[in-house]
């Protein structure tokens, strides 16, 4: 009998000890847990510093996507109306967030680092139609010093589609 009570007291001392420690929970949504740099959240379509879009409309992200969540339709760039370096740009770019499983294959596959998975994990919508994120929603705003696309440029500057890139660290 004494042993039984002793064991129960031992357990109680553990729980009492825990009651005196600081809580590990956080009060979401008032407080948000910071995500790690590699976190795979809502996508962004990136731009170069001058405002030019990185996406060249190659559809490789769409081909690599295991969930078939991406739809890309490319169109031709001209120097009068230039959206991205190289020959083509994405006229239509849509990601269906209901299909996406946030695996990051699109980011891996993209040859220009145009599509990048960001930090936002609060994706909610009230109907299926709004689960399709169109290009306007995905494209990041133009940086200071950059110009919005389409840009009118001198001919013969933007002939290279694939930029010089580093191996990703984070």
């Amino acid at each position: 009998m004494a042993g039984i009570i002793g064991e129960i007291l031992r357990g109680l001392s553990t729980t009492l000890h825990m009651a005196a420690t600081k809580p590990v929970t956080i009060q979401y949504p008032e407080v948000k847990r910071p995500v790690r740099p590699r976190f795979k959240g809502r996508h962004h379509l990136m731009r170069y510093d001058n405002g030019m879009e990185k996406c060249i409309g190659c559809s490789l992200c769409s081909a690599a996507c295991p969930a078939d969540a991406i739809f890309v339709e490319a169109a031709e760039n001209t120097d009068e109306e230039r959206y991205s370096p190289g020959e083509r740009y994405a006229r239509v770019y849509e990601i269906n967030m209901l299909r996406c499983i946030f695996c990051g294959y699109c980011e891996d596959a993209c040859p220009t680092e145009a599509i990048v998975l960001g930090d936002n994990y609060e994706l909610s919508f009230t109907d299926r139609r709004s689960s399709i994120y169109a290009k306007e929603m995905l494209l990041v705003p133009v940086d200071e010093g950059g110009k919005p696309t389409p840009q009118k440029v001198e001919p013969g500057i933007y002939t290279r589609s694939i930029p010089v890139m580093q191996d990703p660290k984070d």
Binding site: R10, G11, L60, A64, G104, D170
Partner: protein
């Protein structure tokens, strides 16, 4: 509650005829009661339906009805290229995501003869052992919760959170990591990885002691688990039971030792066993396994070699990003691998690893095309669940909850 006559069977063809051999004579006469437990029942640990034949509170027969979580993963994987199919392996046993990635990649590597750098192998071992701990934590928490020990559940999930954070750190995802890739890893681990793991290793043994202070000698826990659901070694082998359930019946069989993979032979660890074969023995074995996993992670971290984490074989592994702007071949390989995928040679392989639940195996058949011709998963939960009718017979309904917990099933693993 309904008697047998008025009970409608959604199983089989809707009539009783196909079922009579499963229940006792007394059920047909209406002497005993048939009761559905699940599929929507918190202590079945998922969508598992148990059809119980009860005499009062005693279980006469227990018929597991599986398949509610059937997603056709195996068939779906055959419709995707090898690399795209990998994301689905995460979603089978959702407490052992990295372990599933590992066995799938090992199968591809065996099929193609792909080399894996030593650093990648060591990181694989570290992550898979952390995954084992996190899986055992979920098992311990829910098992204790089923037996009315609420605080253990909270503590276990607190520690599991640390592990999931490490997974987020390396892969960007807490659960569906897809971090282990054919030929190595997705990327090298970030710089803060080693410190984070070391911190966890330092704090964790004390936490196990805390759980044990609440359970191991607790008279209420002992009464609920000792002598319950005894499985002899013979039975375990006959039913194809593996993992902690088999080891709790006295057989020290562990694939990490029996057929080492990913360099497990370099690490020094024990296989905990127990001879009682009851629910308590399985508890003891799993608790000790967590301590052994710490030992393995510690050793792997101490001698973590430097070097690349991906194979250089461009036929199977995409080139590094920095090469894309300088090498035409790299661009061609990159485009080819991400669209058409790679084509392994014809053949079939089977690879098994020790998952937290037992032997997890992948059988892969290739017809030389870019998609697997056939892929089959040998999942330990499915095998271990089969023993439930045998263990449940003659026990009380309340003990059935403990028995489901001790089998440590994951329904994603059972139903696939």
């Amino acid at each position: 509650m309904t008697t047998m006559q008025e009970f409608e069977f959604p199983l089989m063809d809707g009539t009783l005829d196909g079922m009579t051999h499963l229940v006792s004579e007394r059920a047909i006469e209406g002497d005993t009661v048939l009761l559905n437990m699940g599929p929507q029942h918190p202590s079945t640990h998922g969508v598992l339906r148990l059809l119980l034949e009860l005499d009062g509170e005693t279980v006469i027969t227990c018929i597991p009805d599986v398949g509610f979580l059937h997603t056709g993963v195996e068939k779906n994987m055959e419709a995707k290229t090898y690399i795209k199919a990998e994301v689905m392996s995460d979603r089978l046993d959702y407490l052992n995501n990295l372990g599933n990635n590992l066995v799938y990649c090992l199968a591809i590597e065996k099929l193609t003869g792909l080399d894996v750098p030593v650093r990648a192998q060591a990181i694989r071992v570290i992550l898979v052992e952390l995954q084992r701990i996190s899986s055992h934590l979920v098992w311990l928490g829910t098992h204790a919760l089923d037996l009315a020990a609420m605080s253990v559940f909270l503590y276990c999930f607190r520690e599991r959170e640390i592990i999931l954070d490490i997974f987020e750190m390396v892969s960007g995802q807490r659960m569906m990591t897809t971090y282990i890739r054919p030929g190595g890893l997705w990327r090298d681990v970030p710089d803060e990885f080693e410190q984070a793991v070391r911190q966890f290793l330092e704090a964790f043994p004390e936490r196990i002691d805390q759980y044990e202070s609440l359970l191991t000698k607790n008279p209420l826990f002992l009464q609920r688990t000792k002598g319950l659901g005894v499985m002899t070694q013979e039975d375990a082998l006959r039913w194809g039971v593996t993992g902690p359930m088999l080891r709790a019946s006295g057989l020290a069989h562990d694939l990490r030792i029996a057929q080492p993979y990913s360099g497990y032979e370099q690490y020094d660890f024990d296989i905990p066993t127990h001879t009682d074969g009851d629910t308590y023995a399985r508890y003891v074995v799993r608790m000790e396994e967590m301590r052994q996993s710490i030992k393995i992670v510690q050793q792997a971290l101490d001698k973590l070699p430097y070097g690349p984490v991906r194979s250089n074989n461009r036929k199977y592994v995409p080139p590094p990003r920095s090469e894309l702007s300088t090498s035409m071949e790299a661009v061609i390989h990159h485009f080819k691998l991400w669209t058409e995928g790679f084509t392994p040679p014809k053949g079939s392989v089977y690879v098994g690893v020790e998952s937290p639940r037992g032997e997890l195996g992948v059988y892969l058949e290739s017809d030389g095309g870019p998609k697997p011709y056939r892929i089959h998963w040998r999942t330990p939960s499915f095998m271990n669940l089969q023993t439930l009718p045998m263990l449940a017979k003659g026990n009380l309904v309340a003990d059935l909850v403990a028995l489901i917990g001790t089998a440590d099933i994951v329904l994603g693993d059972v139903d696939r």
